[in-house]
């Protein structure tokens, strides 16, 4: 056991120990390997597997024909009682996972063949983190670069460890955690830069941003704020000093296109959630933004909804896809978001191309067919201190933070979507208090449908839903598509199912015993394909389901932080 005394100076303790040597020497994750991750079927080198954000595995050993032989091979317990929203990454037979509770961020290196723990790093958290971290302490995974593992923390640090040993290499304080800043997303490394968007602002107040750091040293290279400061272009969309506590978190991993050299991020809701308290369009919240990788400069933006009143963050990943419409190919980004629509934008210019609904429960309004800007239905905004308004979708969104999955084989976007609504009210008065939730709303979720969770296959060229698979509770769970013509989907009831990618027909299911809430990935070791499923629960599925009797059964499921890896029986 090695204690690093340097860090004790800032009241942080680090525990790091090596249990065994690596099974085989894993190759370094170079910039080139990351750029060509799509041509590396055995590995899952980053959060969304590729920069394009597809989460599509080219592995095809497991198919509808042999799926009934899919059995658990090993189970890994992370031991944390908290949110489990992490997507593992795999490099040459070594899996890296995170487990997170209010007291710590943990990173594990695991032998991906056996489930044996190789090393564990635990970073203790200070006690003065903000309210949002206290309510939903979570982390979505690590990034790999060369021989390092890089992750963000609940106290807003960026940390690099040695991939082989778990020993600390460098760390950088990104922002002041007492203001509510933290890192939940898995960082993305592109051409030697670690790209991180910050979490917290949408519920806690301070301005959101995306920042780039040198992957070798951790030094900051640029920072782009999602809210312009007074005097900057776009600041006219904020009244007085509201921009200073205007939110706009960028809490979801971005995507990247090497051809345009642009990073694509979705930005979150403005703060507070009470729209009357920050009049104006509130740029660049609720937007798609394209940032130059080298400089962090804004190349273009498209605001989905001005002056958001409902916490409808549009942070979901923008899939880099070439979309064919009427025989014409568009270099596009495609985003399915909380508003309930699949948006297609030109990824070079940001021009709006189309929007098509993928859920039925939408009452807030709709995008203008020409400009793509949200046009609200009247009467859907609550008044401060007034009665609740029933509006659909709920603030968890037509689809929420759970990544969407794109299959280049079929051209389908697989969307874990939700048919639900909320009774939503603004409190009568609200004051910004550092560290407290700066939302100012009450919300109860409900559904008029028997099956609120709907996995939908959406044909991005035809702009329509082609099949549906349904579940009783909303799908606050993950999805995976493979070249074996399978789509895997988790549920809050604790199941993972496999459906036929062409028809949506359910072929296989397994009871995990804990809500499926983290990533589902596929990888291969020694030429054998595996499926890894992360379970453990989220506050969203366990508490916020609380007022809808139809979902009571799911709230009874216990939480356990586990990774279950499946393979074909021998």
């Amino acid at each position: 056991m090695v204690t690093v005394s340097r860090l004790c100076l800032i009241a942080l303790a680090i525990l790091s120990f090596t249990l065994t040597a690596l099974p085989a020497r894993a190759a370094d994750v170079t910039d080139d390997r990351l750029l060509n991750a799509d041509r590396d079927p055995a590995n899952w080198l980053m959060y969304n597997r590729t920069y394009s954000g597809w989460r599509y595995s080219p592995l095809d050993q497991i198919t509808p024909a042999n799926i009934t032989k899919l059995v658990p091979k090993w189970i890994f317990s992370g031991g944390a009682l908290g949110e489990q929203q992490m997507t593992p990454v795999v490099n040459d037979g070594v899996m890296f996972t995170t487990s997170t509770a209010l007291a710590y961020n943990r990173v594990h290196a695991i032998n991906a063949r056996t489930g044996e723990l190789l090393w564990k790093h635990e970073r203790k958290m200070p006690e003065d983190v903000g309210a949002l971290v206290r309510v939903i302490p979570h982390n979505r995974g690590v990034a790999l670069h060369n021989d390092n593992v890089i992750f963000g923390t609940l106290d807003a640090y960026l940390v690099a460890l040695e991939a082989k040993t778990g020993k600390p290499v460098w760390e950088t304080k990104i922002a002041d955690h007492t203001e509510g800043y933290f890192v939940s997303q898995a960082p993305m490394v592109v051409k030697g830069k670690v790209i991180v968007g910050i979490a917290g602002p949408g519920e806690m107040g301070p301005r959101g941003f995306v920042e780039a750091f040198d992957a070798k040293t951790g030094k900051s290279q640029w920072r782009w704020y999602s809210i312009p400061a007074a005097g900057e272009p776009g600041s006219e969309t904020w009244v007085a000093d509201t921009w200073k506590i205007g939110g706009g978190a960028v809490w979801h991993s971005g995507t990247y296109d090497p051809a345009t050299n642009l990073l694509y991020f979705g930005t979150g809701n403005p703060a507070p959630w009470i729209a009357d308290m920050r009049r104006g369009d509130n740029l660049y919240t609720m937007s798609a933004v394209a940032l130059d990788l080298d400089t962090g400069k804004l190349k273009w933006h498209h605001q989905y909804l001005a002056n958001d009143a409902w916490d409808y963050d549009t942070v979901a990943e923008h899939h880099v896809v070439d979309v064919v419409r009427n025989g014409q190919t568009h270099q596009a980004v495609v985003q399915a978001n909380k508003l309930g629509y699949v948006y297609t934008l030109d990824r070079v210019t940001g021009k709006f191309l189309s929007a098509a609904p993928f859920v039925k429960s939408i009452t807030w309004g709709k995008p203008d067919p020409v400009t793509g800007k949200g046009v609200e239905n009247p009467g859907m905004r609550p008044k401060m201190g007034g009665p609740p308004v029933e509006v659909c979708p709920s603030l968890l969104g037509g689809t929420g933070w759970q990544p969407k999955v794109y299959s280049p084989k079929s051209g389908y976007l697989f969307i874990p979507s939700n048919e639900f609504c909320m009774r939503y009210a603004y409190v009568s008065d609200l004051t910004y208090k550092k560290g407290q939730l700066f939302t100012g709303v009450t919300a109860e979720h409900f559904s008029t449908m028997e099956q609120a969770g709907v996995l939908r296959a959406f044909d991005v060229s035809q702009n329509k839903v082609v099949w549906e698979w349904t579940n009783r509770t909303p799908l606050i769970s993950h999805t995976l598509a493979t070249a074996g013509n399978l789509v895997f989907q988790g549920t809050a009831e604790g199941k993972v199912v496999a459906v036929d990618a062409a028809s949506g027909q359910e072929l296989w299911s397994f009871n995990l015993g804990s809500p499926q809430s983290g990533g589902i990935i596929s990888f291969a070791v020694d030429g054998k394909q595996y499926i890894a499923v992360v379970a453990g629960g989220t506050l969203r599925s366990q508490v916020w389901f609380g007022k809808e009797p139809k979902w009571a059964h799911a709230t009874k499921v216990n939480w356990s932080d586990i990774v279950v890896v499946f393979g074909l029986s021998d």
Binding site: A131, G386, P387, V427, Q436, A443, F446, L539, G546
Partner: protein
């Protein structure tokens, strides 16, 4: 869309004036059916008030053709025979709509729900708390059916008036009744609490009807409802005690300290513990908290190890946590609304 709606209203108003006379929309209403409608200056009933607001939005004046609505066919005939233009208060459900081919129905302007009315002290906060109580209902109503289906002890009355008289006389512990009756009763009888039963399957969306030959008026009414939905309509219904703003909260306003405590509770705690503080599957029912104010402070400061209850020390000041304890105490005794 909002701007477009306003523009349409402006155009209508202008055209009414250019014709040289103010347009008149005639409503068919029952002269003695409170709280829906009544031939009274002070309390005309919310259906009349809603119709007036719609007419106003359309730049028209509302006239009323008074006619008893006790016999549905006779009443609707007034509309068919053009003695009036609009009928309010009709349920927008297939069983009612489908055999009225001569009518066009508007969008809903409110949802009629079942409510539980019970004494503030020792009364009922939720459907589950009806268990073991004697529950009064009006025969053959949705409330009657609901209480019957849940297998509660039920006592049946012939009409709303008899039912509410029985509640005042403590013949029954609680009644389940339509929101307009329950709301009106509570606004006039301090000491009773109204709890809405949230169950989409039992919601009755309510709208207006016009003659099928009058589609333009239907469209205009829909437009008007859209515009009035955010402010005017909630205000009208609040005055009649219908909807989510409980009349009781206004009757006994909170002190400034407890108002702040309520805001803190609603913004920091209600997502897990519920707006009513009665908890969810993973968070405790705070109204059932038996400890002292010091106990409450200690738990909120430190959290509950092994549960989702997180420590709040350093974020919510101790004085605010104590004020929250007092707010929840008042909420649990029913002395204040949520």
């Amino acid at each position: 869309l909002r701007v477009a709606g306003l523009a349409i209203a402006v155009v209508l108003a202008a055209s009414a004036i250019s014709d040289g006379e103010v347009r008149r929309i005639r409503l068919c209403a029952d002269p003695s059916n409170p709280p829906f409608s009544a031939r009274s200056e002070t309390e005309p009933g919310f259906e009349v008030e809603v119709a007036r607001a719609i007419a106003q939005t359309l730049g028209a004046e509302l006239g009323v053709h008074w006619f008893p609505a006790t016999r549905e066919m006779m009443a609707l005939r007034q509309l068919y025979e053009e003695r009036c233009d609009v009928f309010m208060g009709l349920p927008l459900i297939p069983s009612f709509r489908d055999d009225k081919p001569r009518l066009l129905f508007s969008a809903p302007y409110y949802v009629m729900r079942q409510v539980i009315v019970s004494p503030t002290v020792g009364g009922v906060h939720s459907l589950d708390e009806l268990r073991g109580k004697l529950v009064g209902v009006q025969a053959m109503t949705l409330g009657d059916r609901l209480v019957f289906e849940r297998g509660e002890n039920r006592k049946v009355y012939r009409n709303a008036e008899e039912l509410l008289t029985a509640l005042v006389g403590a013949e029954v512990d609680a009644v389940v009744i339509e929101s307009p009756f329950g709301g009106r009763f509570a606004t006039k009888n301090p000491g009773f609490r109204v709890v809405e039963i949230i169950d989409p399957a039992r919601d009755l969306p309510i709208g207006a009807a016009v003659r099928r030959t009058d589609p333009a008026l239907k469209d205009q009414i829909d437009q008007a409802i859209g515009q009035l939905k955010s402010k005017t309509l909630p205000d009208i219904f609040a005055r009649y005690g219908i909807g989510s703003a409980p009349a009781l909260a206004a009757a006994e306003p909170l002190s400034a300290e407890l108002r702040n405590a309520r805001t803190t509770y609603l913004t920091q705690c209600s997502q897990c513990h519920g707006i009513d503080a009665k908890g969810t599957a993973a968070a405790a029912n705070l109204l059932a908290f038996k400890g002292s104010e010091d106990d409450f402070l200690r738990i909120v400061r430190n959290g509950r190890l092994g549960t989702a209850m997180t420590p709040w020390k350093g974020i919510i000041p101790d004085d605010d946590i104590r004020a929250m304890a007092r707010y929840l105490k008042q909420l649990s005794t029913g002395a204040v609304g949520q």
